[in-house]
């Protein structure tokens, strides 16, 4: 970051225009503001305060990213969900337009956030103007710098963009979203007085890894929003797939959401929803606490997704005594088991050199490959050979 930008940022930070001081950008004002009233108040809804922003939001919000039909968003708002999240990049902007149309007329009773992945102040502010236009609003409640993974990604220039937008009354609060690198990034965001809200991937498959940094951030007054609450493993099992149907029947999706909400440092969540059934199921997470039964379900779920969830870390490279490309084979199996793309998995398998394709794991007494992440390698490779050979 050039010195001049940093200097400009500091100067701009001191020169608060009178109009801006009266705008909706003060956290103190918000702390004491009356909570937004849902259109259809429901006793089953639960609210939490989003850190020092003072925004009162339902503990289950709505991640609009993959929603195809505006009716689901509209219904969620009618039921009383108060937090909706989108981003400039989702569906190349079509998502913001749909969200704006769905929430038209409800803007005053909801908290709305969007994001920009721009790298410069100019581009970020241009993104913000486009977001406001597409969403049909004159301000965002939270504007996130999108998908940051390390402290250096959150540049002074981008912080300056957020502060400029705040002063112009275009955003109320500044945030950063992150999917990885949180143990390093969140402490840096916690220490940054210009960041009001942190939107982070957080789910049961992570165990307690993030709990200390989230607790410290919350203690420092940051609002904490959790995303990817259903765990990355769920990406590999889609509706219509047998494993997915089992999980759904089991209630593991709901248990995953409850696991996230059991942490009082999480102010709200933004699970993706594509239909009314999912919406209704997710609402139940607000009232039911995380139970022993949920714990059992998630333990089983972890067991189920672990074999499907090759992280491509490469630690098994060269470990097979018979020379199998372990990670590749696991991926082919994911095509078949996870996506229902059997022919693609087989096609890839048959492209392997003959001496590799002919190896059978059951001919080894012991497996020399040990996955550090718990993938049951020998069992999975055996299945791949059984399916594809």
């Amino acid at each position: 970051m050039p010195d001049s930008s940093r200097r400009n940022f500091l100067i701009a930070g001191l020169a608060v225009p009178a109009a801006a001081s009266a705008a909706r950008s003060s956290a103190d004002d918000q702390k004491h503001a009356a909570p937004p009233r849902p259109a259809l108040a429901d006793p089953q809804l639960r609210y939490r305060i989003l850190g020092d922003t003072g925004l009162k939001v339902t503990s289950v919000g709505f991640g609009c990213m993959i929603t195809s039909d505006a009716s689901v968003i509209e219904r969620a708002a009618d039921i009383g969900i108060t937090y909706f999240d989108t981003a400039r990049v989702y569906q190349s902007g079509n998502n913001e337009r749909m969200v704006g149309a769905a929430l038209k007329g409800k803007r005053q009773s909801i908290t709305l956030s969007s994001k920009s992945g721009a790298k410069t102040k100019e581009a970020a502010l241009a993104d913000l103007d486009t977001s406001l236009r597409e969403l049909g609003t004159d301000h965002l409640d939270i504007w996130y710098l999108h998908a940051k993974t390390k402290p250096a990604d959150v540049t002074d220039e981008l912080i300056d963009a957020q502060q400029t937008a705040k002063k112009a009354g275009k955003i109320r609060f500044a945030g950063v979203s992150t999917h990885s690198g949180q143990t390093e990034l969140i402490p840096a965001l916690t220490a940054n007085p210009h960041i009001d809200v942190i939107l982070t991937g957080y789910n049961f498959s992570m165990g307690q890894t993030l709990d200390p940094v989230l607790a410290a951030a919350h203690e420092a007054g940051k609002g904490i929003v959790a995303m990817k609450v259903m765990a990355g493993g769920f990406r590999f099992v889609k509706p219509g797939n047998k494993v997915y149907d089992t999980l759904k029947k089991d209630g593991a999706l709901l248990a995953a959401l409850r696991w996230t909400l059991r942490n009082s440092n999480i102010d709200t969540t933004v699970p993706s929803m594509t239909d009314m059934d999912q919406l209704e199921e997710n609402l139940k997470a607000m009232t039911g606490g995380f139970t022993k039964a949920d714990e059992t379900l998630l333990a089983r779920q972890l067991e189920r997704i672990a074999p499907l969830y090759c992280r491509m870390c490469g630690q098994c490279d060269g470990a097979c005594a018979k020379g199998l490309p372990v990670a590749d084979l696991l991926r082919y199996l994911t095509y078949a088991d996870g996506y229902g793309q059997f022919s693609l998995g087989r096609e890839r398998f048959l492209e392997l050199p003959a001496e590799v394709a002919q190896v059978r794991c059951d001919s080894c007494d012991t497996c020399t490959v040990h996955c550090p992440h718990g993938v049951r390698v020998a069992e999975r490779l055996g299945r791949a050979q059984e399916l594809f050979a």
Partner: protein
């Protein structure tokens, strides 16, 4: 998009597209490659598309290959994504095109703007993004035309699109799950009009479609072969079954007859 981080050395051999399908910068003279080529599959797309990978996975994303090409101070990112089938690739395209802007005759469907081109052909979806902020249309057109020739597969749009009346159509999209926000309607096409939206969902058999119709009757507490009702969110709507298809109109404006519209749509289906 995230920084360009994937090195060619890390690309699993089996993921590589055929050479003819991998984008290269020498497709247009004067352009050279900057940095390493990129390759991702569903398990690591988030490293590149952090924050937007789910949008691809939703449509059955399989793999992506890309390069960054430069000439002078200009750069163009080219990414070719492979999907499970041509319908899914078209679905990705239709979800990302701006329905307010004109379409381009490019592959099975395309759109060209001063800094961006997207198009689909076969089971491939191509994205080209140019920097800095100025009109890059000539270079983008040159690359996309060359790429379109390289990508295998049909340049015809999905047959389902022809079922929807063209007159007054604002957009037509593949919805990969939960058509109309109803989990019962797993996957189908939706076309939007000023007066409402038409939809067609294809089931595996007439029996399967009949079973879904039964569930719709139960859900909406309706009876009869053609379900006509008014829903708080889906407005005036009508569902009917024709063979293995469930089709109809939703959010139909006053002055239009949902059943008549649906009957006319059914006549266009095979």
């Amino acid at each position: 998009m995230k920084a360009l981080i994937a090195a060619q050395a890390l690309v699993p051999a089996a993921l590589a597209l055929l050479p003819a399908q991998t984008p290269t910068c020498d497709l247009v003279s004067g352009w050279t490659r900057q940095g390493a080529a990129r390759a991702y599959d569903a398990s690591n797309l988030f490293e590149y598309m952090d924050g937007n990978a789910e949008g691809y996975l939703l449509y059955g994303f399989v793999a992506m290959h890309g390069v960054t090409c430069v000439e002078g101070g200009d750069s163009i990112l080219i990414d070719i994504s492979e999907f499970a089938d041509a319908d899914s690739a078209y679905g990705m395209f239709s979800a990302n095109r701006d329905p307010r802007l004109p379409a381009e005759t490019l592959g099975a469907g395309g759109q060209v703007t001063p800094r961006r081109v997207i198009f689909t052909k076969g089971r491939f979806y191509a994205e080209l993004a140019a920097n800095p902020d100025k009109d890059h249309t000539p270079a983008l057109r040159a690359f996309s035309t060359a790429l379109e020739k390289l990508l295998p597969g049909s340049a015809a749009a999905p047959a389902a699109l022809a079922w929807f009346p063209a007159e007054g159509q604002k957009s037509a999209r593949l919805i990969p799950e939960s058509v109309l926000g109803l989990r019962l309607l797993k996957r189908g096409y939706v076309a939007e009009y000023e007066f409402g939206k038409a939809f067609v969902v294809q089931e595996s058999s007439p029996e399967a479609a009949a079973a879904v119709m039964d569930k719709l009757r139960a859900r909406f507490n309706a009876t009869g072969d053609s379900l006509q009702l008014t829903d708080r969110y889906l407005g005036r709507l009508c569902f009917i079954q024709k063979g293995r298809y469930i089709l109809g109109y939703a959010n139909v404006a006053e002055g239009h007859d949902p059943l008549a519209l649906t009957t006319a749509l059914a006549a266009r289906l095979p």
